[in-house]
Symmetry: C2
Subunit: 321 residues, 2 copies
C-alpha cells in the first residue's frame, strides 16, 4: 500500500464494551481476548480496504474496577493501597497487552503488514479544576452508611448514594488539558504503527510549578481525552464507538430519532436542551463538539459493530462544522 | 547535543531493587516513586555527560508478587483469576508509568531534552522448552501440604517446599526466543527516546503454527531477555545493575574476590565450576556471556549506585570477547 496516498487519519475511541466481559464472575480465562478480537477485526477490515493512519483509545471501566476492588478487599494483607493513578496504569498495561496481541495476531493471519503499539499515557489535569470540589464518578463496591463514615474519616473518601443499592466512593472527573505522550503518538503514527493508548482517559497527573508531573486520584473521561489527542495530532476524524447506533433525539420516548448528519452548533443546542443522558451520551457528544470546534473535520458516534459502514457514511451520527 | 557523535549505545537492566520497597507493608504511598528517582538519576547523570542511545529494562518481582497475591486472596469474589501473563502486563503498566514519570520529571528539572517511553513487551518462548516440564520459579504465598494437594487438583499448579516456611507455587522459566516489540524499540531508539521495557523479562507468549501469539503461564529471566534484545538492536554494551558491586569469586568465603575484567570464555569456565549462585548471580553471568558470544562489545555487571563509574571502567565486572 502507498503511504503517500493515505486516506483520512482516524482516532477511534472504544467504549468499555470493546473488551467487556458481561458476566465477569462466570467468564472463563482469556474471554477478554475473544471479545477484543471482534472489536479489532472491525479496525482491520478498514485497514484491508485502504492505508489509514489510526490511533485507538479505550475505556477501562471493568478492568480498573476489578483492580480497585482487589485493593479494597486485600487491605488487611496490603495496608498500603495503591493509588488510583497506579490502578489506571495497571489497567493500561493489561488492556494494552490484550489489544496489541489481538490486533497483531489478526494482521498476521490476514497478511496485513501493520503493527500496533500500546502507549502508557499520562494526562495533565488542573488541580484547581472545580471537579476536585465535586467528585461525581462512582467507582468500586457498595458500602453501608456506617462503613462510609469510617472511610470518610480514615481516607478522606467521598460517597454518593447510588441506585438504592448503597453508597459508592466517588472521585473527581477533571477536564484533560494535555496528553503528556502526544509526541510519542505523533512519531509512531508517522512510522505507520497503529497507536493504542489513553486507556481509561489516561493516568491523571497534575503539573507542579517546577514542571514536575505528579499522579492524582481522579478519573478522566476517555472521550474528552480522545478529542484532545485527536486535535493535538491533527487527526481528520474522531470516531467514538459505543453500544448503540448513534445519537438519538427523544431517546427515552416511544419514537427515538437517530441523527444522521448534524452541525456542531446544532447538536450543541440539543445538549443545552438536555437531550442527552449525563455520564452516557452527553460526554460523547460534548467531546465530538469540542473536536470540531478546534478544527477537526468530522466526528462520528456509531455502534461498535458498524465501524466500516460508519466511516463510509452509511451508519452512525456524523458531526461536522 | 549531536546525535551523530553518539557514544556507545547501552541497554541497562535494573534489578528488582531499582524500585523495591524493602518493607512493603509499612511503606507509604508513592514511596516507589522516590526509590525509582534514585535509580533514574544515575541514568540521567550519564545522559548529562554525553548523548547516549539507551534502553532500560527492569524486574517486576515485588509488583507482580503483589498483583498475583491479590488474585489469590480475592478468589472467592473473583473466581475468574487472571492468568500470569496478564499479571505481568499489569506490572509493566505500573512500572512503566512510574519509570517514565520519574525519568521525564528529572530531565525537565535538569533541563535535559530527552524523553522516555514505556513499551508493553511480549516475549516468545518455546512450548517444548524443557522448563515447562520442570517449573522452578517460586511465586506467591506459602501454602500448607493440604492446601497444595487441593490446588494441584483444582488448577494443576505445581509446588516446591521452600525455606522450611511451607510450599510455594512454582512456574516454568523458559528461554526467551524473540522480543515481539523489537522493531518498536528500534524505532524509538532511532528517534532519540529512552525506551523502557521487557518488564519482568516480558509477557511470555508462545507462537502457534499459524503465527498467532498466545499468552502462557511462565516467568522469563529478565537478564536473558535483556541480552536477547540488546543483541537484536545491535546495542554495544549490556549493563546489568544489581545490589552488589559485581561478580565475585569465592563469594561465600572469608575472602571474596571481585572480578574486574574477564573474557567471556574465562567467566564461562567459572560458571561450569559452580562459582555463581543459582537464581542469583549465575543467570546474570550467563546473560552477559550470551550477549558477548553473539557479538556484543562489552557486558558490565555492577552496583545500582555505581552506573557512571561502571561505564567509565572504574567499577563493576567488565566482560569482553
Amino acid at each position: 500500500m502507498d503511504k503517500k496516498n493515505s486516506k483520512p487519519s482516524l482516532l477511534i475511541s472504544f467504549g468499555g464494551n470493546a473488551l467487556n466481559v458481561s458476566d465477569p464472575l462466570h467468564a472463563y480465562q482469556k474471554q477478554e481476548f475473544e471479545i477484543a478480537r471482534k472489536s479489532m477485526s472491525g479496525v482491520i477490515d478498514l485497514l484491508e480496504r485502504e492505508y489509514c493512519k489510526i490511533i485507538l483509545t479505550h475505556g477501562n471501566g471493568p478492568q480498573v474496577g476489578q483492580i480497585f476492588l482487589q485493593q479494597e478487599l486485600t487491605k488487611h494483607e496490603f495496608p498500603r493501597q495503591i493509588t488510583l493513578d497506579i490502578c489506571v496504569a495497571d489497567s493500561q498495561g493489561r488492556i494494552g497487552y490484550i489489544l496489541q496481541n489481538v490486533f497483531d495476531n489478526i494482521c498476521r493471519q490476514r497478511g496485513i503488514d501493520r503493527k500496533s503499539f500500546a502507549v502508557i499515557t499520562q494526562v495533565v489535569v488542573d488541580p484547581d479544576d472545580p471537579a476536585f470540589n465535586r467528585p461525581t464518578k462512582p467507582i468500586g463496591v457498595y458500602y453501608s452508611k456506617d462503613e462510609t463514615n469510617k472511610l470518610k474519616n480514615e481516607r478522606g473518601w467521598e460517597f454518593i448514594e447510588d441506585s438504592e443499592r448503597g453508597y459508592r466512593r466517588v472521585v473527581p472527573s477533571p477536564v484533560p488539558l494535555e496528553v503528556v505522550e502526544e509526541n510519542i503518538f505523533h512519531q509512531i503514527l508517522d512510522e505507520g504503527f497503529i497507536g493504542i493508548g489513553c486507556g481509561g482517559g489516561g493516568i491523571p497527573v497534575i503539573k507542579k510549578v517546577n514542571g514536575e508531573l505528579v499522579g492524582i486520584e481522579a478519573v478522566i473521561d476517555k472521550d474528552r481525552t480522545s478529542a484532545l489527542l485527536a486535535h493535538g495530532l491533527g487527526i481528520d476524524q474522531l470516531v467514538i464507538l459505543t453500544d448503540i447506533d448513534g445519537v438519538y433525539l427523544s431517546f427515552k420516548s416511544s419514537k427515538p430519532q437517530l441523527i444522521k448528519n448534524i452541525s456542531a452548533d446544532q447538536i450543541k443546542a440539543y445538549i443545552h436542551k438536555g437531550e442527552f443522558a449525563e455520564g452516557s451520551m452527553k460526554p460523547k457528544v460534548e467531546a465530538a463538539v469540542e473536536f470540531i470546534k478546534r478544527g477537526g473535520k468530522k466526528a462520528i458516534i456509531a455502534n461498535l459493530n458498524a465501524l466500516v459502514p460508519a466511516i463510509a457514511g452509511k451508519a452512525g451520527t456524523h458531526i461536522t462544522a
